[in-house]
Amino acid sequence: MRRTNDGLGAAGYMELFVAPSPFGITVSRDGRYLYDVAIRVETLRRRPGRSYVAWAATPELDQVKKLGVVDGSGPVIARVDWNKFLVLVTAEISADGERWEGPVLLTARSPSGLMHTMRGHGFFEAHGISC
């Protein structure tokens, strides 16, 4: 995971595990891959009155899912079923919220997040290729 400017001193990593399946391929009914995301935070500067919470979100931030509270007792493990997603660790006044409000300390993205469009690359437009 990458630390943000607010996450000075923080370090952690995210692992993706394939959710178990009798088929050897784990997807939802509509074909989205199912992953068990494990988040381990190794160092985190303690902030009084704050809880550290791990979240998953779509890249457009239109859907957010709380993965769990990071309390140093072990990894946070939760299931995510989005095609592309971000993972964040934030510092919250309350761990009960449905969406983060505090500063983002650590971020990561799914490997599928590396895909990006070739739209906007000039040669497609210059040669009349709609993308």
Binding site: V18, P22, G24, I25, R29, Y33, L114, M115, I129
Partner: protein, 597 residues
Amino acid sequence: MTGRLRWIVAAGLIGAFGSPSASARAQMPAGEGGASADSVTSSAVAWRMPPMPRPMPMVPVLMRLRPPSQAYLPGAGLDPGGLPEAVFRSVISLRDGDTLSLTARFVRRTIRGRTFVMYGFNGQYPGPLIRVAQGSRIVVDFHNEIDLPTTVHWHGVRIDNRFDGVPGVTQEPVPPGGAFVYEVRFPDAGIYWYHPHVREDIQQDLGLYGNMLVDSPDPDYYGPVNREEVLTLDDLLIDSDGLFPFGRESATHALMGRFGNVFLTNGEPDYELSVRRGEVVRFFLTDVSNTRTFNLSFGDAPLKVVAADVSKFEREERVESIAIAPAQRYVVEARFEHPGVVPITNRVQAIDHFRGIYYPEVDTLGFISVSEQPAAEDFSVQFETLRENADVAADIERYRTEFDRPVDHELTLTVRAGALPTAIVQIMSLDTLYQPPVEWNDAMPLMNYASSARDMRWILRDPATGRENMDIHWKFRQGEVAKIRIHNARRAFHPMQHPMHFHGQRLLALSRDGVPNHNLAWKDTVVIPVGSTVDVLLEASNPGRWVAHCHIAEHLEAGMVMAFTVEPTEGGAADAGSGAGPGSGRSVGERKPGGGP
């Protein structure tokens, strides 16, 4: 590769070959649907642009690509009107010692009002459903009346080696007009299938496949259901001019395999089944396609998976959908609680590499009509109960201490681009940052169709020896087990999932990427997603010289096959053909009455 570097490379490609011309755009096929007139195969078969599953950027250099082999369609020059119309398969119940006459022949198939020359076993689609009792043995008197050499492989059956149907290993191919007598014994209950093992990319794709349903003597082997249905899942590539040609000298679509654009369930594009409200239906599913992995569901009907290739699971398990790869079988049960029409759908998240996005792709394979009339018997309680199969668990238990044994053999799955056209190699190098675990559809139809089994090699590599494909030859003793680690290299030129099939034996998929599998079933085909490492435990129970290969038909044609031998134990039941090469069974043209070789 940075965004700027991608732009430079791609601009160079476009600059070299110019913009798509109006005439080139006019050549774009209309895709499925086109002309409604019957297709009469011409003796002159020519390459044409493949159908596009969705609008894609037309890169000029790709539009000029053609496969490096002659375009071929079976029966080119034949008038389909002179061929018999294929009929839906019959169910043939055979007893121990019975003989079945099986013929591969040309047929006329009508699919959505269009007529095609295709193949069929005994003039049927799918081939006859052979129903036998576990432990029985039958004789199959096979005749080849198609235009290509062929064999019959009895997929998943732990058969006597000399009847396994692998050309160059257990027999010579049966030439057109030739014959071969197989003896098939059925040690395991379940659902199996038979298909050619010569140019499967053509023969299997055009209809040469059928199922074998092996009944356990235990009437309680499966739970009670209201009905059973045996379904084959397939697809066929068709455009406005008819069947899309194949490569005569070598398989096309070697990159990803030939994806069809018309789904066929039991050979029909619009499968239909009528059931009563509340009925529980057991589906025996077989993926007979060249390359497509399906994600199948039956509307919102609750599902549970009961069995895999060669056995039941240790425990029945609720599932949302069934992810089934080529050659695999699953037995699932569904309960249709509400009246109405239930679609059978294939739902996947396809990838548009140019736009860098996922997009949902939903295809309807058929419908199940659920009537208001209630089921004659209510099996809802039994359906809700997830059975624990103690017999399977006990069978597996004796091997449990082997699960953590050191790995005996490893395989790395990769690919060598070889003499692929430069344009393909360059464009594919633009997008290597992410490869999904599964390619659900043809994301690159132009490059795919122009890639030939002659120009690229799909590879099984033994990292211990460096040997590849048929240069690998493992040896096992009958009765031993071997732990095999199979890794699908993510950094390959074009990684793709591979359904790995081992002939003549059964195996357990122990783990994927270090995560143990806690609900086991005996299998013969295990899918290895991109970037994954799957550990399997192979039970070498059946003596002889066998093969293991990727069951994507075009990958097999591109070399993705290896050999292994199971040496019989001293004084054990040795197969007469063990270790022998071709010709150890009944030879072509010689048809002897029943009995041994």
